[in-house]
């Protein structure tokens, strides 16, 4: 068990040292058929040695284009202007050859997706030693030895052996460690990390952020941390810049920014994030609207259309970034007013009307059970050989999963990737007899023989909403056809379809004029609304949601979550939600089941589970979620789990979590023995509740 308390501020004198990287008035534009896309406009910031600058923003806000502009890795068509001063030298306008002498040597970069960031056909050690030899005059052997040292430094076990491994033999977290090793190989003065943990599980995210910190201390570099996750920024950044529509709209120290946000966008963003530490007191406060298109921006402030504090001047003139005493730099005409408390920051964004009434009034009145899953198990054979497939093992994707879902209730399945959440959903959606166990939908056992008509009725009862609305909607069908399709499939006649489609559109809050648009013409939030409407078309009683908001930006995520809550109340739906974001889960779920390696290790009422977690895995999971509040985030203790979830092909005989359990080393021999040999069963944590957990030690 590692207990890390991140976020100790470096001593104040470091503020006096010269910045290692100064960006002044950086602008990036991409030509497009509709006109130039102003991806980045007049961005300026300084990076000090040993300090971390967090750049936050939603997708399309220009965060990535900014750092790509700094690195000189933008496509050749991009028009870059402004100055990027690295140690006094301007990098803008340098040729590829001159820039390549800088990249890797003075600036190292960590990318978002570790799965594709490494060349698949070269060994890890080869890639690292190549990176060293580009800038340093080393022999092959010396570079290899240094590569092994670097691997050891970033926490790769058995670095000598693993240097010979290829990227596909590594998990995502291990690959990201390698990418960090690549970035720090030549001791750069600046490390740029572009969404370094977005593609990773939350427990691995904590490990990787620790490694990044190690890399920073080791090289003394200034770190630019780009992320959309305000929690990560709160825990790790010293200074924060918030970007919106290509500009920095607010820039301040982390404490000031989170404690006293001034720009209405920042205020809205902080209000829209579900907070893992706060109980679901009410609905989230969405900002409303969508970010503007970056082509042909209007003369005014680009946030003015969504801003509740906007005045006439905001629509005609773009505010410059100016210093507001005690608040850092803010680009807002109303900043002095908001800083002065009139209007008060907290009253700017009001929750939607529905939230004013009692939140989930029917919470205490459970409906009838619509879905019952008992002792569900699913295995997949692992085969080897091309011509003759030999079965070499069995992957236990789901083992012994039981739960019940009542009408009007939301059950959340939580766990890291590979824990069997999605397999559980798909087993339910399959409507076939499960490999082992029982699935009962609205009182009907799916294993019982039935007619085609009955199958269709059953199919209407359960519907699914997928994670990525871009992939789950056929791009060649307009919205009307998308919504009509499930209705036609169950034999609704034409006129009824037309009426129902317009009903559905208004139900999910979409304008009827969108009916003849194609999915590509819709924004991410609108697409997910269409996906939800499509699921609701056949009037299901159970809606299965697989990561329904993880592909959406924070400000839009809040909108969709609120919509789901509203629909549930109106239609008495039962939701089975899978999500990795525990903060979102706390907002939407009534009950939560935590899965690990195909087993439910703890389940119970959401509030009970969040406040009195019993299982050590749940504790670690909860502790790993970054809280978007620097005070809280830096003072609380983090439990950083070692390693990653093992493969489900060789399940341990005893407790599936024993290998990573932070509690296990502290136990006495007898209990350890039990953990190793006997699989713990779910048992009530306290009498009178349905809070259950599976642990020998607690």
């Amino acid at each position: 068990m590692t207990v890390a308390t991140p976020g100790t501020h470096p001593p104040a004198e470091s503020a006096a040292t010269a910045p290692v990287l100064s960006v002044r008035g950086l602008s990036v534009a991409f030509p497009s058929e509709a006109g130039p896309v102003q991806a980045v406009r007049e961005v300026s910031f300084d990076v000090l040695p040993g300090r971390t600058l967090g750049i936050v923003g939603e997708s399309g806000s220009g965060k990535s284009a900014t750092v790509m502009g700094v690195m000189g890795l933008l496509p050749e068509t991009a028009q870059v202007s402004g100055r990027v001063l690295l140690g006094g030298r301007d990098l803008v306008g340098l040729g590829d050859r001159e820039l390549s002498a800088v990249r890797g040597n003075d600036i190292g970069m960590v990318f978002q997706d570790p799965l594709s960031a490494l060349t698949p056909i070269f060994s890890i050690g080869r890639q690292l030693s190549d990176a060293l030899r580009v800038h340093q005059d080393l022999t092959r052997q010396a570079a290899w030895n240094r590569a092994v040292e670097l691997l050891d430094l970033v926490g790769i076990a058995e670095p000598h052996r693993n240097a010979r491994a290829f990227p596909h033999e590594f998990s995502g977290g291990m690959r990201q460690r390698v990418v960090i090793a690549l970035a720090m190989a030549n001791s750069p003065s600046v490390i740029v990390a572009d969404e370094p943990t977005t593609a990773l599980d939350v427990t691995v995210q904590a490990q990787i952020l620790d490694v990044l910190r190690t890399a920073q201390t080791e090289t003394g570099a200034g770190l630019v941390l780009i992320t959309h996750d305000l929690g990560v920024v709160a825990g790790y950044a010293d200074d924060v810049a918030v970007m919106y529509a290509g500009r920095i709209v607010e820039q301040a120290g982390a404490n000031e920014l989170f404690g006293r946000p001034t720009m209405p966008y920042t205020i809205g963003l902080l209000g829209a994030v579900p907070r893992p530490e706060a109980r679901a007191s009410g609905q989230l406060v969405p900002i409303g609207g969508e970010p503007p298109s970056l082509v042909g921006l209007s003369a005014g402030c680009s946030f003015a259309d969504r801003c509740p504090a906007a005045v006439d001047r905001c629509h005609s003139q773009e505010p410059p970034l100016t210093a507001v005493p005690g608040h850092g730099q803010v680009a807002c005409w109303r900043a002095p007013d908001i800083a002065g408390g009139n209007p008060a920051a907290s009253s700017l964004f009001s929750p939607p009307e529905a939230a004013v009434e009692e939140h989930r009034p029917d919470r205490q009145v459970p409906g009838e059970t619509v879905l019952r899953v008992a002792e569900l198990a699913r295995t997949f054979p692992i085969t080897k050989g091309a011509l003759l497939k030999r079965r070499v093992g069995t992957l236990h994707a789901v083992s012994d999963v039981s739960f019940a879902l009542r009408a009007g209730e939301t059950l959340g399945l939580v766990g890291e990737s590979g824990s069997g959440k999605t397999t559980t959903l798909l087993e339910i959606m399959r409507l076939r007899p499960p490999e082992h166990g029982l699935i009962e939908i609205a009182g009907t056992d799916v294993a019982a023989p039935r007619s085609t008509e009955q199958t269709q009725r059953l199919r209407r009862t359960v519907q699914i909403v997928m994670q990525d609305p871009m992939g789950s909607l056929d791009p060649r069908l307009p919205v009307f056809r998308l919504l009509a399709e499930p209705l036609q499939a169950v034999g609704t006649d034409r006129d009824a379809v037309r009426i129902r489609v317009s009903e559905l559109l208004s139900l999910v809050g979409l304008d009827a004029s969108l009916a003849d648009r194609f999915p590509a013409a819709l924004s991410g939030g609108q697409r997910q609304r269409v996906a939800i409407a499509r699921a609701l078309a056949t009037e299901p009683r159970i809606v299965v949601l697989d990561e329904p908001v993880s592909a959406l930006d924070v400000s839009i995520q809040a909108d969709v979550i609120n919509l789901l809550t509203k629909l549930q109340r109106e239609l008495d739906l039962a939701y089975l939600i899978v999500a990795h974001d525990l903060a979102v889960m706390r907002q939407v779920s009534d009950r939560i089941a935590v899965m690990y390696l195909g087993h439910i290790v703890e389940s119970g009422d959401t509030e009970d589970l969040f406040t009195h977690a019993r299982h050590p895995y749940t504790e670690a999971l909860l502790s790993a979620i970054p809280v978007p509040d620097p005070q809280v985030e830096r003072s609380r203790e983090h439990i950083v789990l070692k390693g990653e979830q093992p493969s489900a092909s060789r399940l341990p005989r005893g407790c599936v979590f024993a290998d990573r359990c932070p509690l296990y080393p502290l136990l006495d021999g007898g209990t350890q023995q039990r953990c190793r040999t006997e699989r713990p069963l779910l048992r009530p944590a306290a009498s009178g509740t349905d809070h259950r957990h599976a642990c020998h030690a607690r």
């Binding site: 890795l73 800088v102 698949p120 060994s123």
Partner: protein, 313 residues
Amino acid sequence: MIVVATNVTYLLAAWFLDPRSNYRGLRPVRTEEQIDHALAPYNLDPRAPLADRWWHWFSDVLLHFDWGKSPVGASVNSEIGFRVVVSGQLVTAATLLSVVAGVALSVFTASRQYGWWDRMTQLVSVFLFNVPAAVAALAVVFAGIWLNQHLGWRLLYVAGEKSPDVSGLWPTVADRFQHLVLPTLSLTLLGYVGYHLTQRSLLLDNINSDFVRTARATGLTRAQAIRRHALRASLIPTATSVAFSIPAIFTGAVITETVFGWNGMGQYFVQTIAKNDVHGAVAVAAFGAGMTAIGAILADIAVVVLDPRVRVR
């Protein structure tokens, strides 16, 4: 597999090809009996049961590597022997040039996607792709003749694979080379196009991939990153297709061989079928099967060289 394929070909060829028809047109007219009699020494006598002829042929192949005789008594072995050498020169040179030119062009154009050079070379390639082999070969012949006329002496030969009266090592090499240039050129013009277009699109899949960006971030220039990281990963499918196309080129260069008057395998394949030469046709088929097997092995070797992940550890 090769053995099975060859034997099936033998049975089919013996079934469909009738060597007697070669003799029927001869004057003075011969009786069927005389014809059969004349074919008997070459193991082509239709009166003997097919099984007997097959067994005779098969045991000769197995025991003496004797692939039989044509209906006029020429040895298939010696025919194939010199033709393999002739075709080999042509095919090896043309394949190597096609691959090198195609891949080089693809790297050049993929790094400049939608640029002027990319569009121009693509236009040329698509045009060449649609030119029939005979037209291309004739165009090359005319170009060669025009060049010779302008030079005033014969630099490049437009017909045959060698001159009959050359002796000595260096004169022979020079003579062969003079004959080789034009047919190789015409085969290359038609062959490189496929590699250019497929390799270009394979490379484009990789050129903007994250790992190329990572390589650039470590300090490689764009060109270096493309050559070292993107190209190698995207060469694997091309290497496989080159290896498997070798047998097709060997027997598929018929038109080019005919235009340039080369006595190669492709020409022989057409001749044997036209002249009802059962043994010759079967030998060509067996040769094709053998080349396919070699191609498959070469493909595997190429993949192992390019992609260290498949090496057995």
